[in-house]
């Protein structure tokens, strides 16, 4: 099993700030940061009309499939994807092999601007993740919530759910 990724308060807020900037400066509708397993790390914008879990799992699969397509034609990866709709479109950028940045926008925003702003924000978020991975590597962070007691509580909860 691959190690878990833990995101702590300060890094989380730093990432959120970047996403909010991206949203504001482009006029996009929604910005999502997801991991390669299709889990949402954080987001900005109005999520009320979006099934976020479904979206994130499909988006991660989309990126994974496209990366394989890249390999088949001799490319290492496609670092960005663009899906154009009639009213709304999706721009996707691969920040590193584990992290995917997604921008959903309509005709209030332009692809060119989204692309430029994503580039700026990507650099910042990549730096934050380098910090997170370095912390995990050095194990300088502790996770007090996940001990034996947590496991027992979780098991009780599972028994309860699947009765």
């Amino acid at each position: 099993m691959q190690d878990s990724v833990s995101i702590f308060e300060d890094d989380y807020w730093a990432i959120n700030q970047q996403l909010k900037y991206l949203l504001r400066s482009t006029g996009a509708l929604i910005v999502l940061l997801i991991d390669k397993a299709g889990q949402v790390i954080t987001s900005a914008g109005d999520l009320s009309r979006l099934d976020v879990s479904s979206f994130a799992s499909l988006q991660a699969a989309d990126v994974a499939a496209t990366s394989q397509l890249a390999t088949l034609i001799g490319e290492k990866e496609f670092s960005s994807l663009f899906h154009q709709g009639r009213r709304e479109s999706i721009y996707v950028s691969l920040l590193n092999p584990n992290i995917i940045l997604v921008v959903i926008f309509d005709d209030q925003a332009t692809l060119g601007l989204v692309r430029i702003r994503v580039k700026t924000v990507s650099d910042q978020i990549t730096k934050i993740f380098e910090r997170i991975f370095a912390k995990l590597e050095r194990r300088t962070v502790s996770a007090p919530a996940f001990d034996e007691e947590f496991a027992l509580e979780a098991e009780a909860e599972i028994d309860n759910l699947f009765k």
Binding site: M1, S4, K36, S57, A61, E149, E153, L161
Partner: protein, 195 residues
């Protein structure tokens, strides 16, 4: 790769159902979807062909509830079982936290089970993972059919790691929750041991 978010207090884990084509992986997930309360699950996404064969994957998010202040959620995935779709199968394994192998108990599917299990080991290896380091359970599905191999035989041939294995009839829901329960517990236990 489970994701623990201390700021939004969330834990997300990914469980993958693997096994030969037509073995009942999708049936397992569909049964879970039909039986748990709507407020504890998300939408069931199926990327399937017109004939209802899984093309890419099925996906079901299940909320476990709040454990010690952390909203805990499992994402259940199935892989396409057909041999042809190995490239897609490999992708679904990315970032997994737990694995369920759904074997087809029918005697004439034994070779398919062995091939699929072998294929699973190989695909895990391409992601740098080994089965003995992953929370893993087996399921002997289709126990209601007449030509099934004895459980002891399946266990001897397929369960070399001697992990928990559950006889099941997924179409009737028998063994479905037992399997999911065990793998979920193993995933969360692994999480607590990792920290």
């Amino acid at each position: 790769m489970s994701l623990i978010n201390y700021a939004s207090r969330e834990i997300n884990c990914k469980i993958v159902y693997y096994g030969p084509g037509l073995g009942g992986k999708t049936t397992n997930i569909k049964y879970v979807y039909s039986k748990i309360a709507p407020e504890t699950r998300g939408k069931l996404i199926s990327l399937a062909t017109e004939l209802d064969r899984t093309l890419f994957f099925d996906f079901l998010p299940v909320d476990l509830g709040t454990i010690r202040g952390f909203k805990t959620r499992f994402h259940l995935y199935t892989v396409p079982g057909q041999v042809y779709y190995n490239a897609s199968r490999k992708l679904i394994l990315k970032g997994l936290d737990g694995l369920v192998f759904v074997a087809d108990s029918q005697a004439d599917r034994l070779d398919d089970n062995i091939d699929s299990l072998q294929n699973m080991y190989e695909n895990l290896a391409t992601h740098g993972m080994r089965i003995d380091g992953i929370p893993f359970v087996l399921q002997w599905n289709k126990r209601d059919l007449p030509n099934v191999s004895p459980v002891e035989q399946l266990d001897a041939i397929l369960n070399t790691l001697k992990v928990p294995a559950f006889p099941a009839i997924a179409t009737q829901g028998i063994g479905v929750f037992e399997t999911l329960k065990e793998v979920s517990k193993r995933v969360l236990r692994a999480l607590s041991q990792q920290q």
